[in-house]
Structures are given as structure tokens and as C-alpha cells.
């Protein structure tokens, strides 16, 4: 399981959301969220996560010319089992287009380990923060919108992790 680095900004802005996103060990989550002490808590959508979302972005090999990697995992709430074949939509303001423009959007599927990885153009700071957007919005599980922030605008990769609960 990969860990997302918790820095001050993440903690300040979306500490709750990051913790709840299940990137920390299940034990920690259950300590912080006693109501779901029986297992891995589902990821909550992040504030602003759905901004400039375009429903139904096509599954692509790569968004634009690439050069930047968006990756993450998709697991099931409760037992944390990896979810294969889940469609994750990704978009951001990049060197090749603004957030709302179609060429800035694409989707990919998780592999058998529940992991996904999609190459896209370099994300640049927009509205004061270098950030990406990800969505799970396929119906089988509850829709989740994420808005992870890059530690540095120079980073060439970004991670986001989903823990989904049945719709």
C-alpha cells in the first residue's frame, strides 16, 4: 500500500479528508473515526473536488502529450479489498489546457490490484494551488470526487486513493 505524504498544507486544508481517504492504515482511521471502527472507512469527496468535472471522459492511453503521472488505488470500504476494473476520471489545469477544456480530461481503469496510473501533461498551479481532480462516478459505488494537492508545483507525479462504499 502506498502512503500519501502528509505535509502541513495537506493537514491544514484537508486533514480530515486525507485521513478519511483511507491512505493511512486502517488502524489509524478507526482510531479517528470510531463510528466505523469495524473496517476501512470510505473516502469522502473533497471540497471543490467536482469543480470543472465533465461527465463521461473517455478512457485514454494518455492525456495529451503526457510527462506527468497520476496514480492511486481503489479499494472497498470495510475489508479494503482492491477493486479491479474501476473507471477513474482525471482532469486538471495542465500545460496543454485549462481544467474545463475537454483535452484536459481522461479516464483509466484499475488493474487487478486496484491500482491505476495515467500519464497526463504537467499540472500547473491554478487558483493558487497546484492540484489535480479525480472522480469515481460509475454508479456501482457511491460517487467520490478528489482534489489532491501537489507538494511542489515542480512535482511530476501525484497520488490519490479511493475507498468506495456501495451506492
Amino acid at each position: 500500500m502506498s502512503l500519501v505524504v502528509l505535509n502541513r498544507r495537506n493537514l491544514l486544508i484537508s486533514g480530515g479528508a486525507v485521513l478519511a481517504s483511507g491512505v493511512l492504515a486502517a488502524g489509524t482511521s478507526s482510531l479517528l473515526l470510531p463510528a466505523r471502527a469495524e473496517g476501512l472507512a470510505p473516502t469522502e469527496s473533497m471540497t471543490g473536488g467536482a469543480n470543472n468535472y465533465r461527465k463521461g471522459a473517455p478512457i485514454v492511453e494518455r492525456i495529451g502529450k503526457g510527462g506527468f503521472w497520476m496514480s492511486g488505488t481503489v479499494r472497498r470500504a470495510g475489508d479494503g479489498a482492491p477493486l479491479a476494473g474501476q473507471r477513474i476520471q482525471i482532469w486538471a489545469h495542465t500545460v496543454e489546457g485549462q481544467e474545463h477544456e475537454p483535452q484536459s480530461h481522461g479516464a483509466t481503469l484499475t488493474d487487478k490490484d486496484g491500482a491505476f496510473r495515467l500519464e497526463m501533461p504537467q499540472i500547473i498551479p491554478i487558483f493558487g494551488q497546484p492540484h489535480g481532480h479525480l472522480a469515481y462516478d460509475s454508479g456501482e459505488f457511491k460517487t467520490v470526487f478528489l482534489r489532491p494537492i501537489m507538494r511542489s508545483a515542480k512535482d511530476a507525479s501525484l497520488e490519490a486513493h479511493f475507498v468506495l462504499q456501495p451506492a
Binding site: 498544507r9 491544514l12 486544508i13 484537508s14 473533497m46 471540497t47 471543490g48 473536488g49 467536482a50 469543480n51 470543472n52 489545469h93 495542465t94 500545460v95 485549462q98 481544467e99 474545463h100 500547473i124 498551479p125 491554478i126 487558483f127 493558487g128 494551488q129 497546484p130 482534489r147 508545483a153
Partner: protein, 199 residues
């Protein structure tokens, strides 16, 4: 000397932002909105200097007149800033204005904006409301503090086109100018009330 320093403190950050590589990835409206924000911060620096009589070559009367005009320019800059960002990404701007934005700097900017609008509205009605100088200051100074702190925090937390050091210097100058002028006003008032007490 003071004029030259003022021109540098405002001019350098604007010039460095104009060389930012980020501009290449932005549309013209977004660029305009960003620069309107930087200019607005520069105007927030000029305002206390005018009213404190710090700028040489301007009479107290002229300074006050210019202070009013700059106030109007500040409104215009803020409106361009907000409208341009709204045009660039409506959902992000709506989040900011409704205080539901994920970005920690947004509420500071929005609060400063409302404080600026409030000052301008009150200033335009001051005569009609018959506000005396003392009452006016009791209203304007707290709002000015909100504007200065809001604008500085807003600006410092943003990762954008501004170069870090010149941005920090401009923000420090904004804070220093506001503090100096307010302390001076407060001292003058103390001296005056002491004099009154002696008489």
C-alpha cells in the same frame, strides 16, 4: 527617496510576475485577473501612506483627495480580479465567495473584499450620514485592519505568478505602512487628550 522605494516595492513584484513562466499556461482573462490582484495589494500599500502624510510633495488636502481616488481604483481592481477569476473558473470562484473553497487563502481575500466594499460605501455616504472624523475613524480603522491582514494573508498563501521574495517584501511593506500610520494616529490622539487634560 520614499517615492522611489514605493515605486520599487510595487513595481518589482509586478515586473517579476510579468516574467513568470506560469503566464504561458494562462488565458488573457486569468492573467488580467491575477495582475489586478497584485495591483490591488499595491494600492493597499499606498492608502495608509497617503493618509499618514508620509509621501513628500503632497499636501494633506491633496493626499486625502488622492486617497479617495485610490480607494475607487482599489474597488475597480478587486472587481476585475474577482470577475476575471469567475470567468476563468466559475465553480472555483463560487466556492470562494460562499466560503466553501478548499483553498485556505480564499476566505481571507473574500473578507478583505467585503471590507473594502464596506469602506467605500460608508465613505460615499459619510457626509449624508453626518459622520464626524472620530466616528468615521472608529469605523474605518477596524475595517482597514481587516483589509490589510486579509489581503496580506490571501496573497502570501497563494502559489501563482508572483515571485516569492518580492511578494513577501510587498506584503511586509503593506503591514508596516498600516501599522505605522495607525500608531501615529493613536499617538497624536493621546497627545491631544493629554493637552486637553492639562488645560
Amino acid at each position: 527617496m520614499i517615492w522611489a522605494a514605493l515605486a520599487l516595492v510595487i513595481g518589482v513584484p509586478v515586473a517579476l510576475a510579468a516574467t513568470s513562466e506560469q503566464l504561458a499556461w494562462r488565458g488573457p482573462v486569468y492573467i488580467l485577473a491575477g495582475f489586478a490582484g497584485i495591483i490591488a495589494l499595491g494600492l493597499v500599500l499606498v492608502q495608509p501612506l497617503l493618509i499618514g502624510g508620509v509621501l513628500p510633495g503632497l499636501s494633506a488636502y491633496r493626499s486625502r483627495r488622492v486617497h479617495h481616488w485610490i480607494g475607487g481604483a482599489l474597488i475597480l481592481a478587486v472587481v476585475i480580479h474577482v470577475a476575471g477569476l469567475w470567468f476563468t473558473s466559475p465553480p472555483d470562484m463560487i466556492d470562494a465567495l460562499t466560503f466553501s473553497s478548499p483553498t485556505p487563502f480564499s476566505p481571507f481575500g473574500v473578507i478583505a473584499m467585503w471590507a473594502i466594499f464596506a469602506v467605500a460605501l460608508l465613505a460615499s455616504m459619510r457626509r449624508r450620514l453626518g459622520l464626524r472624523l472620530r466616528t468615521w475613524r472608529a469605523v474605518h480603522i477596524p475595517l482597514a485592519i481587516v483589509i490589510v491582514i486579509g489581503a496580506v494573508v490571501h496573497c502570501l498563501l497563494i502559489e501563482g505568478t508572483m515571485e516569492t521574495v518580492s511578494k513577501a517584501v510587498l506584503c511586509a511593506a503593506v503591514l508596516a505602512a498600516a501599522v505605522k500610520v495607525m500608531v501615529d494616529l493613536w499617538r497624536k490622539r493621546m497627545v491631544r487628550s493629554e493637552n486637553l487634560a492639562r488645560q
